[in-house]
C-alpha cells in the first residue's frame, strides 16, 4: 500500500501546480500556431515543445541538471547559439541590393527608432508605476522592435535573462505577424501616387565589391563599436564565406546543417525559460504589448524616412520599401513588394526592398551593441 501511495505521489496529476498546467497549455498553443497557422514554425515548434517539457511536474527538465537547463547554459547563457545563428544568417544574406543603392542604409537606421521609442515607453511605464522594469529590462524589451530573433535573444540573455522567454516568444511571433501588422501602417502613411513610384533598375554589383563589403563593415565595427563585434563579426564572417566562393563547403554547412542544428537547441533552450513563475506575470503582458508598439513605430519611422529620402535624392524612392528597414528578412521585403503590386501590378519592389531589409539587420545589431554597452553592467 505504501508503494502505491508513493507511486501516486510522484505522478504528474498529484504534483501539477495550476501554473504548470497553464504553461503546458500555452506551449500547446504555440505548437498550434506553428503547425496550423504556420507562424515561424522553425522556431515556434521547438520553443513550444520546450515549453511543454519544461513544465512537466516533477521531471525538472528546466531545473539545474535537467537537459533543457543544460542546453540553456551551454548555448544561450554563453551567447553561443544566437551568434552561430547570426553566422548562418550572414551566409544566407546577399548584400547586392544594398551595395547597388547604399542610401537604403538610412532606411535601416530609421526603422531602429522603434527600438529606442519602445525602450522609452517601458521606462515611462515604470515611472508611472505600472510595471517595474529596470533600464536593462527596458533595453531588452525595446530590441524586439529590431525584428531580429537571434539579436533579441542575444541582448535579452545579456541584459534581462529572466525576461528571455517572453521576449523571444514576442519577437518570433511578431515576426510571423509582419504581414498583418505592417500593411495598415504603410497604407496610412503613404498616398496612392507615392505607392506607384517606380524605382530605377539596380546596377550590377561585382563579386569584388561583395567580397570587400563584409570586411569593410567589420573594420568599421572594430573601430567604432566593439560591443557589436560579436554579432556583426559572426555575421560578416558568414557573409565572407559565402561571397568569396572558395570555401563553398563551409558556407553550405553554415547556412544549412549548422544553422538547423543550432535552431533546434536554441528553440528548446528558449522553451526552458517558459516556466510558470517567470512567464505568468503581468510583465509578460507588458512585453507583448510593448513589442507590438515597437514593431509599429519601427515600420512607421522607416516609411517616413523613405518619404524624406525621396525628397532629398534624385533617384526616386518608393516609400513602401522603408518599412522593410525593420529587418525580419525576407518577410518585410515581401510585404513591401505586395503592397507595391496592389497599387501598380507592374511595379516589382522586392529587390529594392531587400536593400533596407539587410540594412535593418546591420542597424539592429548596431543598436544591440549600444544597448549592451550602455545598459549592461
Amino acid at each position: 500500500m505504501d508503494k502505491l501511495i508513493h507511486l501516486w505521489e510522484v505522478t504528474g496529476i498529484n504534483q501539477m501546480t495550476p501554473g504548470q498546467g497553464v504553461m503546458i497549455l500555452i506551449g500547446m498553443l504555440l505548437l498550434y500556431l506553428a503547425i496550423k497557422k504556420n507562424f515561424e514554425p522553425l522556431l515556434l515548434v521547438p520553443i513550444g515543445f520546450g515549453g511543454v517539457l519544461a513544465n512537466i511536474p516533477g521531471a525538472g527538465l528546466a531545473e539545474a541538471g535537467g537537459i533543457l537547463h543544460i542546453f540553456y547554459t551551454v548555448g544561450i547563457e554563453s551567447g553561443a547559439f544566437p551568434l552561430i545563428i547570426f553566422m548562418g544568417v550572414g551566409a544566407m544574406t546577399d548584400f547586392g541590393p544594398l551595395l547597388a543603392n547604399p542610401k537604403t542604409l538610412f532606411l535601416g537606421a530609421a526603422a531602429q527608432f522603434g527600438i529606442f521609442a519602445t525602450l522609452m515607453g517601458a521606462v515611462v511605464l515604470s515611472y508611472l508605476g505600472v510595471f517595474d522594469f529596470s533600464l536593462a529590462d527596458a533595453a531588452a524589451i525595446g530590441i524586439i522592435g529590431g525584428a531580429d530573433g537571434p539579436t533579441s535573444i542575444y541582448v535579452a540573455s545579456k541584459l534581462a535573462p529572466e525576461l528571455l522567454g517572453a521576449i523571444a516568444v514576442a519577437s518570433y511571433s511578431y515576426m510571423a505577424l509582419v504581414p498583418l501588422i505592417q500593411p495598415p501602417i504603410m497604407r496610412a502613411l503613404t498616398s496612392e501616387s507615392e505607392r506607384k513610384i517606380k524605382m530605377v533598375q539596380q546596377r550590377h554589383v561585382s563579386q569584388r565589391e561583395k567580397i570587400v563589403f563584409p570586411l569593410l563593415l567589420l573594420i568599421l565595427v572594430a573601430f567604432l563599436l566593439p560591443d557589436a563585434a560579436p554579432l556583426l563579426g559572426m555575421f560578416c564572417f558568414g557573409n565572407l564565406m559565402k561571397e568569396c566562393a572558395v570555401v563553398d563547403r563551409l558556407s553550405n554547412t553554415t547556412q544549412n546543417s549548422l544553422i538547423n542544428t543550432v535552431t533546434i537547441f536554441l528553440g528548446l533552450a528558449v522553451g526552458s525559460k517558459l516556466s510558470a513563475d517567470s512567464f505568468l506575470d503581468m510583465a509578460t503582458l507588458g512585453i507583448l504589448v510593448l513589442g507590438m508598439v515597437a514593431f509599429a513605430i519601427g515600420t512607421a519611422s522607416g516609411v517616413i524616412m523613405a518619404k524624406i529620402l525621396n525628397k532629398l535624392v534624385k533617384a526616386p524612392i518608393n516609400p513602401l520599401i522603408g518599412s522593410a528597414g525593420v529587418s525580419a528578412v525576407p518577410m518585410a521585403a515581401r510585404v513591401s513588394n505586395k503592397l507595391g503590386l496592389e497599387s501598380d501590378p507592374h511595379n516589382f519592389l522586392l529587390m529594392h526592398a531587400m536593400g533596407p531589409n539587410v540594412a535593418g539587420v546591420i542597424g539592429s545589431a548596431v543598436a544591440a551593441g549600444i544597448l549592451i554597452n550602455y545598459a549592461g553592467v
Binding site: P102, A117, S126, Y374
Partner: protein
Amino acid sequence: MTTSNLMSEGLNLMLVGMGFVFVFLTLLVFATSLMSKIITRYEKDVGTLPEEGIPAPTAVISQAMSSRQHANDDKNLITVLSAAIHKFRSRHK
C-alpha cells in the same frame, strides 16, 4: 536607481543610441560608396571576377595539357598494339 533618474537615463540612451545608429550607418554609406567607386574603376582596367569564384589557372592548364597528352599517347599505344596483334594472329593461323 530612483524613478526620475531612470527617466533621464532612458531619454539619454534613446538620444545617444539613435544618434549613434545614424552616425554609424552614415559612415557605412560613405565608406561603401567610396569602396564601390574604387573597385568599379579598378575593374575597368583589370576586368571583373567570374561569378563562380576565382579559378586556379596553373593547375587547370597543366591538368588539361596532360590529359590531352595522355589521349595522344593512348592513341599511339593502341595503334602499335593492334598492329602487333594483327601480325601475331596472321602468323599463328
